[in-house]
Amino acid sequence: MIIQLPEPDLSIVGRREQIVAALVGIAGRDAVVSDEDGRRAFETDAMTSYRRMPLAVVLPTSTEAIANVLRYCNANNLKVVARGAGTSLCGGALPAEDAIVVGVSRMSRVLDIDYAGRTMRVEAGITNLAITGEVAPEGFFYAPDPSSQLSCTLAGNIAMNSGGAHCLKYGVTTNNVLGVRVVLMNGDIVDIGGDQLDGGGYDILSLMIGSEGQLGIITEATVRIIKAAEGARPMLLGFDTNEAAGQCVAGIIASGIIPVAMEFMDRPAIEVCESFAKAGYPLDAEALLIIEVEGSEAEIAERLAQIQEIAKPFRPTTATISTNAAQSARIWKGRKSAFGALGRIADYYCMDGTIPLSRLPETLTAISRICTGYGLKVANIFHAGDGNLHPLIMFDANDPASEAKAEQAGMDILKLCVEVGGCLTGEHGVGIEKRDLMRFQFTPDDLAQQMRIKSVFDPRWLLNPAKVFPLDARVGFEPAATATAAIRRAAA
């Protein structure tokens, strides 16, 4: 565990009972989780190697209740960690011993559906998949589809600007949210954007989306819903080299086709997924592409035939077009079960850099070299259309040395992503995981501009502390009263 977390403010921890009593008074007994067993359920997120028991957990059922809680916390200089379903892979929802967790999971109602205008207003604690579930009977869907969509909340998606496998065609969260209701740290409730296509004045919505819970707590949102295509069907293309697969993707895009998904898997990923899901993946291929197109049956057939033709010069070892729904489902089951399948054979870190497509072959070679250097194995899954790379670094969680090596390898890989022209995180967020790498991507002036924005919304820096910005980069931005001893030491 190589990421430093601030030591808690013991004067706050010592006032726990008094603070819990105040929270009960504000939000009601039913909304406050204060016993140790209850709080333990909130001590980590999907980056489970880091755990901190929160001071208390509040699960309000209304925007006004959240406003009252934040107003109290702001007045008493208490830190707040916003939480959706706790599925963050980067420690974005990791609590602190001197912080209150404010969860939105009990706010999950659908408030309005406007099929004519293709928008939907919901409480932000609704799960990603439930949004689509609500409108699917009418043939509509909500486009961003992170792998955790069964459990992750829209609030968390908005905080992290989540993506998914279908971003190339439909965009990420920021392209699919029109408005939010936000509670600011001082308790102000404000609507940003609305149900129209764009807001007036400054585009504050763009800042709010992807701000990792550091500018406010999202309690409601208006999202775009889209009519689903008539149909969709995938094909599999296997190649002898990663390079050939990358060139094939480039060829498809150059031809003017924007497939709804283009997923790349390297040999280790293919093996793991095939042994688990029996998806029909070719075990003799070094690289596999799953390419899906949408439209009518005739359109799909024409487009897949076109793609097959484009692939020919790159000598695919396999070119299988799905012919029926069962086969399509099997092909996707393999890809979607990648994380679970790998989890059965090893512990793993799922990294999340983005790289330019043209740098794929050399990047994969370098990733392999990095992991081999630490004595670790790696499998790679790649949203090829948009360059989002997920190296899955395997390690043994029972061996602290192995775990530390995996973390270190992950850091090296993310630096590599920046070096080849990409970025530290494509869809998971910075959280604590990549916090200390931010200087590899940003200059002090770049970070200063972001931190000044943080101070506009949350002048005391109480929201989601110790995330996103390197601890020692905050001097002069984070008020001394909030910066804990550990941060001050790190800065010294």
């Binding site: 406007d114 004519a116 205008g117 293709r118 993506g163 971003c167 965009g171 920021t174 392209n175 102000d188 404000v190 940003i192 609305g194 129209q196 296509l197 764009d198 807001g199 007036g200 004045g201 400054y202 585009d203 504050i204 763009s206 800042l207 992807g210 701000s211 009519k227 993707v249 480039a250 060829g251 895009i253 150059a254 031809s255 003017g256 009518s296 005739a298 983005t354 330019p356 043209s358 949203h383 259309g385 948009d386 360059g387 989002n388 022209g421 970025c423 494509g426 869809e427 967020g429 910075v430 991507q441 940003f442 200059t443 501009q449 972001q450 000044r452 924005i453 101070s455 506009v456 919304f457």
Partner: protein, 410 residues
């Protein structure tokens, strides 16, 4: 006369801004200057032009990404993209001619600084949806960047996207990186003549509720239709409702037929065909139906953002007090509203109606005196004003960049 400075690069610009900030000298930020007639009038002792910062710095067609220095003409960018069968999917609108500026001259920096999106925004997104990265100089004279050159990037706050549509009041953009898309092989437009606004909104919404990927919906009043350059439509002497489909040729034929069938209760549409479709939507990008009246009684132009289901009521309410011509873009979610010229451009009435219905209004075209006395951008509530003022100070604490262009206090 104001001093006109043309920095060579971002370093040069940063030094210049730092000096002016120290001396508290106001700066007008200017690309090609085509939209200087929009916004609150400003008086600045110094004009900074981006005209010496031009040229593409990156174009990777197979990665759907392009970078260009801010002063690069949009026309050059679109021509380069066209050579590789690509385009800007947000179809930048040209607000120059309708606001007293030149047509076809805007820079890519101006496009993003003003968030100039066209009709395809309804499905393909706006300018803000296509920005991937920016380099800029803030009002402190610091060079900063945000985002990058890859399509998926959530590293740090999304500062670059927030600069889109900030009209040069937060920072001076020096280099933009943006997503580009394939140019569709075929464009088809179905046109229904004679629908009322209310029925047209229904038809346009119904079209977007089909799976045929409609990417433009526009309704023009009879008077506006008669001003079209495309003579085959101008002759209609009736309002028209136009719905666009783009895709590979074979798909477009199929989809156009299926769409016409799905919308048959609205009548039988005429098909414009590929070339006339391109001409029609190109004409709408220039908003030329609103420039034709220059010789007639003076008019003012508003841009109203609301949701389609509210549009008919908004229009009915506006027409109760004024004789307005309207073009309903985005199924009515975006209304270009032409009103007879008056001292307040009808602002009080329009904003009262929108406050009730939900939405906002921006005054796009009006004389200087009117823009001095009327809020051009939609008035802010107290919390938004506090945040906006805070953002202004976070970027430009001396408040020297385009001071007062959007709001008197910013």
């Amino acid at each position: 006369m104001a001093d006109i400075l043309k920095p060579r690069d971002d370093k040069d610009l940063a030094e210049t801004v730092a000096k002016l900030a120290a001396a508290n000298v106001a700066i007008e930020v200017k690309g090609a200057g085509t939209k200087r007639g929009i916004g609150r009038p400003i008086t600045a002792a110094t004009i900074i032009e981006t005209s010496a910062m031009t040229g593409l710095t990156l174009y990777e067609p197979t990665e759907l990404v392009m970078s260009a220095r801010a002063g690069t003409p949009l026309a050059q960018i679109e021509a380069t993209l066209a050579e590789r069968g690509q385009l800007l999917a947000f179809e930048p609108i040209d607000l120059g001619p309708i606001s007293g500026g030149a047509g076809g001259q805007q820079t890519i920096g101006g496009v993003f600084a003003t968030g100039a999106s066209g009709p395809r925004r309804i499905t393909s997104g706006a300018a803000r949806d296509h920005i991937l990265g920016v380099k800029a100089v803030n009002g402190r004279g610091e060079i900063f960047k945000s985002g990058g050159r890859v399509l998926k990037n959530v590293t740090g706050y999304d500062v670059g996207r927030a600069l889109v549509g900030s009209w040069g009041t937060l920072a001076i953009l020096t280099e933009l990186t943006f997503k580009v898309m394939p140019r569709p092989e075929r464009t088809e437009t179905l046109v229904w003549p004679g629908l009322t606004e209310e029925i047209a909104v229904e038809a346009m919404c119904a079209a977007l509720g089909t799976p045929f990927e409609v990417n433009g919906t526009m309704h023009l009043s009879a008077a506006l239709t008669s001003r079209l350059e495309l003579k085959s439509l101008a002759r209609e002497a009736a309002p028209i409702t136009a719905i666009r489909i783009e895709n590979f040729a074979s798909a477009v034929d199929y989809r156009a037929n299926r769409l016409a069938d799905a919308l048959k209760i609205f009548g039988t549409p005429q098909k414009l065909g590929h070339d006339a479709s391109l001409a029609f939507w190109e004409e709408l990008r220039r908003l030329s139906v609103f420039t034709r009246l220059a010789s007639e009684a003076p008019r003012q132009l508003w841009r109203l953002a609301t949701s389609p289901r509210k549009a008919p009521a908004v229009m009915a309410a506006i027409r109760r007090n004024t004789e307005a011509e309207a073009c309903l873009d985005a199924s009515g979610g975006l209304i270009w509203l032409e009103v007879p010229a008056s001292a307040d451009a009808g602002a009080a009435d329009i904003r009262r109606i929108l406050a009730g219905a939900g939405g906002h209004a921006t005054l796009i075209s009006a004389d200087r005196e009117v823009r001095e006395s009327v809020e051009v951008f939609h008035p802010m509530n107290a919390v938004i004003e506090r945040l906006s003022t805070g953002l202004k100070d976070a970027f430009d604490p001396a408040r020297i960049l385009n001071p007062g262009r959007m709001y008197a206090t910013l």
